[in-house]
Assembly symmetry: C2
Homo-oligomer: 147 residues x 2
Amino acid sequence: MQISSRFTIAIHVLTAIDVFKDEYKTTSDLLASSVHTNPVVIRRIIQQLKAADLIDVIRGSGGASLKKEPSQITLLEIYRAVDCVESGDLFHFHEDPNTQCPVGRNIHAVLDNKLIKMQEAFENEMKKTTLSDILEETKQLIKEEQN
Amino acid sequence: MQISSRFTIAIHVLTAIDVFKDEYKTTSDLLASSVHTNPVVIRRIIQQLKAADLIDVIRGSGGASLKKEPSQITLLEIYRAVDCVESGDLFHFHEDPNTQCPVGRNIHAVLDNKLIKMQEAFENEMKKTTLSDILEETKQLIKEEQN
DNA sequence: TTTCGTTGTAATGTCAATGGTTACATCTAT
DNA sequence: ATAGATGTAACCATTGACATTACAACGAAA
């Protein structure tokens, strides 16, 4: 299984919101066209980003804008916002191993620590990159295109 | 989405194979009972572990055994063996962003490096734990139960 | 105050993966 | 031969992802 594309779409959307902020009204239609998907898919994701307090969305007249400094938005926050992993647990532990069995009744205790560590390593790496890193590089590439 | 329980089941199975090696013939029935699932589910997983050269499975008379030293089997190898993530990519990138859009045509290049790093952080952490770590701790817990 | 463009959200559909189950051919040791 | 295994195909139910249609609610501007 892979981590849902909601995550990369959310990053794309936040990037586009910032890059286009002075040029266009960043509606779900515009964003959907950039991502190349359906506007409703975008609206669902911007609702999640709004619930996580990362953006404002203007009902009625339309458009979205960042609510925090890009340097204060880590990829981990975005990942958590779009809820790619149920209950926050990256690993799916098989339910109720046999407690009659010495291995069955102890494996959970042994594995839990390790699984948590792996998940933390992953999430810590996500903390290291912020939206402003993405924005800088993206804007740079766009600038280079113009030569 | 969560990483398939095949992963934790595989660890459980390998642990049980070693713990019970002198006591029982570790058939798919026995292992299924320890994991508390269907024997066919176990057989599918032991086939994957066999294909990855981690175990031998004896056709006919039955039973499985480790093919490598537990200290030489990392959780990463087990994870790869059971193929929880298609094509090895942990993240699902939304296909074909709009190339008419400056963000759409550049976001992939910007994100790819970051995603790879996050995946590597995760996989490196998996390399740090071996089956022998799991075995030691499990055997210790079993021993403690007997007091 | 009506109209228009937009958001918010429910309902529905398709697809793929997971995990469970039955069934059975095949193998091997006794 | 037979008994106990494995290897594997077939099928099913459930779930989540993503796409899509439809429409109510909203807000600004004509």
